[in-house]
Symmetry: C2
Subunit: 423 residues, 2 copies
């Protein structure tokens, strides 16, 4: 659809004036609304206050005193819980710290400094390293690759995952392509889940680099909004079946299950990769916080109770996601100026506006007191080549504030589109 | 003194036979005693169970919800507490995770990958990097430098700190010497504290490398055994005074104040270094566990209450250290075969035996069921050039077991010395 194809110029000018009036009215309200980051709201945090209900003894089931040194890879019951939840074996997982992002950074640092399992050389000894970056994607992933001086190649994200034809083509030819970022389920921000075909082809594809590695950030693997969730194949098993068992590392945490920054994170991979990594980690630390693992495992109990717990999150979040969709629909549909997704889970809605209008839309919203993630943030180096993608993070604000914020954003998007069309 | 200078050969043979009898008696008991690592004992851990007494609300004093994302460098009251305890400003410290060792590894990784504040190039871009390693020292320090392929130069430790003449001489000439390990207070394992002169000369010395950095592991800065503790100058202030403000990073944690591995760690340095580091850390993680910081700060309260808390640790540990000294004294003194220190704090006693006898002593003790830190562990690559240093970690075993273990060790040391002398 063309932008505003059913409107003539006068109608557009009138429309713009009417919108400016609404916009100015919002501006006068002195709004201070923040939708920049994917933070859980207070009501969600309250769901997990029970983490601290069981502190009377701090011994794990096998009698380990979690208050003392020991157990590099985590306590047994925590390994069991997360292995169950993410469909790996307990010897394929390390429970490690509070931040999966930190684990990704750390794995990258090890890949550069020491080399991971199966590397001929640490990446710091090579002239050039490239990573595939499905886009729109997660700004913090791209910030890590940028910090390490990695060249980032944008791969478009389709409704079934990143463009797998393009990926197969690139990795088969270029041995400097050493890795790929991915958020395979309810992706940040596109909300899509990789199809079985995409996962299987990622596991099987021929790569010129023998040390090509997929950083599989399963951040939203448990974060369904509906009773009929998306389904994701387990890349670790698929890599095993394909004879490429060491190709991927999976990451996750309870940051959006219990407490952001005070939860439990994990890394999973083939047993061979994990054993290699454990040797490196044994030089880095004596161990991670076992008390927090213990309290988390006591609270979360098992895969079934975690599922119930996540349903409570969904009950809080569903109305927010649906409100965003409802307002965008009412404000922007049928005008040929915006499209967005209706995800079945995760933390984001990805809004695509007219090319060249994302920055202006975000800036207009900001002037009216609504802070969004910077336009461009969903691309490497913060540069969206088409300046069209905006990430909406609807989880943190209360519903009424969220409705206002999305209304302001919608007005801003339409105003930016009108400015462009009328220019 | 010569070894066994007052004994003739027959007397030594008799002595050996008598000792072998004692040794065999111990062996028959099937002992399983572990003195290999510096772990607090259960009684010490119990001192901190109160950490979890105040979990009813998880908001910090300034109203931050510690259950959510935010505050990269730690909550205000935690920064204040540790800044007070370690005599730095709150803008010179980051409260970060559970493990100071991890912070050291991490700083080294950043020095290699990205470069720290004031670096011309990341160290990974240089042909050769050397570190000064005061010895005997901490095996885990040396394991980090080894992993990064750093050449380690042994510097002997005297009673006032590492040989500062040698250090000044080396760093003034060799620009590949980029750093130095140090445990300046109640050093692991020598128990010595750096004198004011040594600290001041470290701060002021001319270094050929402009990016020479001292890793100042203040692991035992609070861990006094007596009411008249050693005194340590603050290297960060001395570096400031000397016009070398960015020369050092200090590390510490509550691993041996509250819970090993489930405590709170910090890194401190000049404000410029810390700001530079914060930018790098902001790529690595959204933040560290603020709930644990909050609970720790509520429990530890302030510098004065921490001092009282540490006195309770001292009351538990003093009898253990004194028992070790008493038994060594009784068993080994006056024979010219061993010397050891009587530290005023920390976690270790360093025992020097006849050259060539450390491995044999440790191995004899092990055969009799007493596990010590491997001989050689206190030197780079695990190789003690004189094979004479043994690290005693008296904190973990109950007093009665400790007495037995030290008795077995003493017998082993004397037997090894007799084997050598009679050979």
């Amino acid at each position: 659809m063309q932008a505003f194809e059913n409107f003539n110029r006068d109608e557009l000018i009138n429309r713009k004036n009417k919108l400016l009036e609404e916009y100015e009215n919002y501006k006068k309200q002195g709004l201070k609304l923040d939708m920049s980051r994917g933070k859980p709201c207070t009501e969600q945090l309250d769901l997990s206050n029970g983490v601290f209900n069981n502190v009377q003894n701090l011994f794990s089931e096998d009698g380990t005193d979690c208050r003392n040194y020991g157990l590099l890879d985590g306590i047994t019951e925590a390994k069991k819980l997360f292995a169950d939840l993410f469909d790996v074996n307990t010897d394929e997982i390390i429970i490690a710290g509070n931040s999966s992002l930190n684990l990704m950074y750390d794995l990258m640092a090890k890949a550069f400094n020491h080399g991971l399992n199966g590397f001929e050389k640490p990446w710091s000894k090579l002239e050039k390293i490239k990573f595939l970056c499905p886009c729109p994607g997660y700004d913090r992933h791209f910030a890590i690759t940028q910090l390490f001086g990695v060249e980032m190649i944008i791969v478009p994200v389709n409704s079934n995952g990143p463009d797998i034809d393009m990926i197969e083509d690139l990795v088969s030819q270029d041995e400097t392509i050493k890795g790929m970022w991915s958020i395979p389920m309810y992706s940040n921000p596109s909300g899509i889940t990789y199809s079985d075909e995409v996962v299987i082809r990622l596991a099987n594809m021929k790569t010129k680099a023998s040390d090509f590695r997929i950083f599989w950030d399963n951040a939203y693997g448990l974060h369904h909004l509906y009773d009929t969730p998306d389904q994701l194949l387990n890349l670790i098993s698929e890599c095993k079946k394909a004879g490429n068992p060491n190709r991927t590392y999976m990451f996750g945490s309870t940051s959006k299950v219990t407490f952001p920054g005070a939860g439990v994170a994990f890394i999973a991979s083939s047993n061979e990769n994990i054993n290699h990594l454990k040797k490196q980690i044994s030089i880095q630390t004596i161990g991670y916080d076992k008390i927090n693992m213990l309290l988390h495992t006591r609270f979360l109990k098992n895969a079934e109770t975690v599922k119930q717990h996540m349903k409570k999150h969904a009950e809080i979040l569903r109305p927010k996601f649906e409100a965003v969709n409802e307002i965008l629909e009412k404000r922007l549909s049928g005008k040929g100026i915006a499209s967005w997704n209706k995800p079945n889970g995760g933390y984001f809605i990805s809004l695509d506006v007219l090319n060249g209008c994302a920055k202006r839309s975000v800036s207009l919203a900001k002037e009216a007191g609504v802070v969004l993630t910077n336009a461009g943030a969903t691309f490497p180096l913060g540069i969206d080549p088409q300046d069209s993608n905006i990430r909406i993070a609807p989880t943190y604000p209360p519903l009424s504030e969220l409705r206002t914020a999305i209304d302001v954003l919608s007005i801003s998007v339409e105003l930016a589109a009108l400015e462009l069309t009328l220019a």
